[in-house]
Symmetry: C2
Subunit: 140 residues, 2 copies
DNA sequence: AACTATTTTGCAACATTGTTGCATTGTATT
DNA sequence: AATACAATGCAACAATGTTGCAAAATAGTT
C-alpha cells in the first residue's frame, strides 16, 4: 500500500512528502469522495490547511484525483482511474451523493450519456451528479 | 413586466417588497443564470447581502428559481418553469456553463437522461452540468 | 555523508461566500 | 389609522479558499 502510494507520486514526478503520502492514503482508504474538510479532520491536524489545499490542487493537475461539483459549496475529490494524466481527465462516470449518509460515490460503471446540445454548443466536459439514497442506507 | 413580477410574488404568497421585485426583475432580464455575486452588483448595492441570500433561499423554497451545482464554489440560480412549486422542482433540463464568457444556460429542451444505477441506489434528483463553449462564443 | 538547488511547507494575512440573532422597518389586513 | 406579522439591515461570526514569504524538507550531485 505504502509502495503503491510512493509509486503514484513518482510516476507523476512529485516529490515524496509526508502530506502527499498521507492524503493519498486517505483517498485509497476512503470508500467515497473526500472534501477538504474530511481530509483536514481525518489527518488529525497534522498539516496546515493551506498545504491540504495546495496538495489537492497539485493532485488534480496531475490527474491523480478529480473534482465533483455540488450545490453545497464544498468541492469533493476522488481518485482517478489509470488513464487520467496531466490536464487530461477521463472520468466519464456518474457521481452519486447520498442524502442520508452524505457519502459521495464514483459510479465507475455508469457512464455519462452522450447529449444532443443545441446548434453551436460544444461540450468539453459533462458532469452528472445524482442525489438520493444509496444502497447501504436503503438496506438499513 | 412589473405586473408579471408582482403576479409571481402574489401567486406564491410572498409579500411585495423592493428587493424581491428587483431580484425577480434581474432574473427576468438575464439570459442566463445568476450567482449571488451578480445580483449584488447588478442591483447596485441597493440591498444588504443578507437580504439577497434570504431572498434567494425563499425563491428556491417556493419553486420560483432553482440552483445549479458547480465546482467553483458559487451556486448559480435560474428561473423555474411553470410547473415548479413549493418543494417540488421539475427542472429536468441540462445546464451549460461556457468556459469562455462564463454564462450559465438552462438548456430547457435538453432533458436529463434516465440512468441505470447500481442495485439499491434510488435517485431523487439528477443534475447534469456541461461545460465547454457556447454558441455565441463559437460564432465569434 | 555532506552540499546545494529547488520544492514544499507553515504561518499570517486576507478575500469570498454564506449564516444567525436581534432591533428596526415595511407590508398586509382589519 | 391601528395592528399583527413579515422582511430588512446591521453586526458578528463561520466556512472555504488564496497569496506572499521565510523556514524546512526533498532530490540530485559530489
Ligand atoms: Mn469520480
Ligand atoms: Mn435551469
Ligand atoms: Zn447513504
Ligand atoms: Zn460563451
Amino acid at each position: 500500500m505504502q509502495q503503491t502510494i510512493i509509486d503514484t507520486l513518482k510516476r507523476n514526478q512529485l516529490s515524496i512528502t509526508d502530506s502527499r503520502k498521507k492524503i493519498l492514503e486517505l483517498f485509497a482508504k476512503a470508500n467515497g469522495a473526500l472534501a477538504h474538510f474530511d481530509i483536514e479532520h481525518q489527518s488529525g491536524a497534522e498539516f496546515d490547511r493551506v498545504t491540504i489545499y495546495r496538495t489537492l490542487q497539485t493532485f488534480v493537475e496531475k490527474g491523480i484525483i478529480h473534482t465533483i461539483p455540488s450545490a453545497d459549496n464544498s468541492i469533493r475529490y476522488a481518485l482517478c482511474k489509470e488513464d487520467c494524466a496531466g490536464g487530461h481527465h477521463h472520468d466519464d462516470h456518474v457521481h452519486f451523493m447520498c442524502d442520508s449518509c452524505g457519502t459521495t460515490y464514483c459510479l465507475d460503471h455508469v457512464n455519462v450519456p452522450q447529449l444532443d446540445l443545441p446548434k453551436g454548443f460544444r461540450a468539453v466536459q459533462t458532469d452528472v451528479v445524482v442525489s438520493g439514497v444509496c444502497s447501504k442506507c436503503a438496506g438499513a
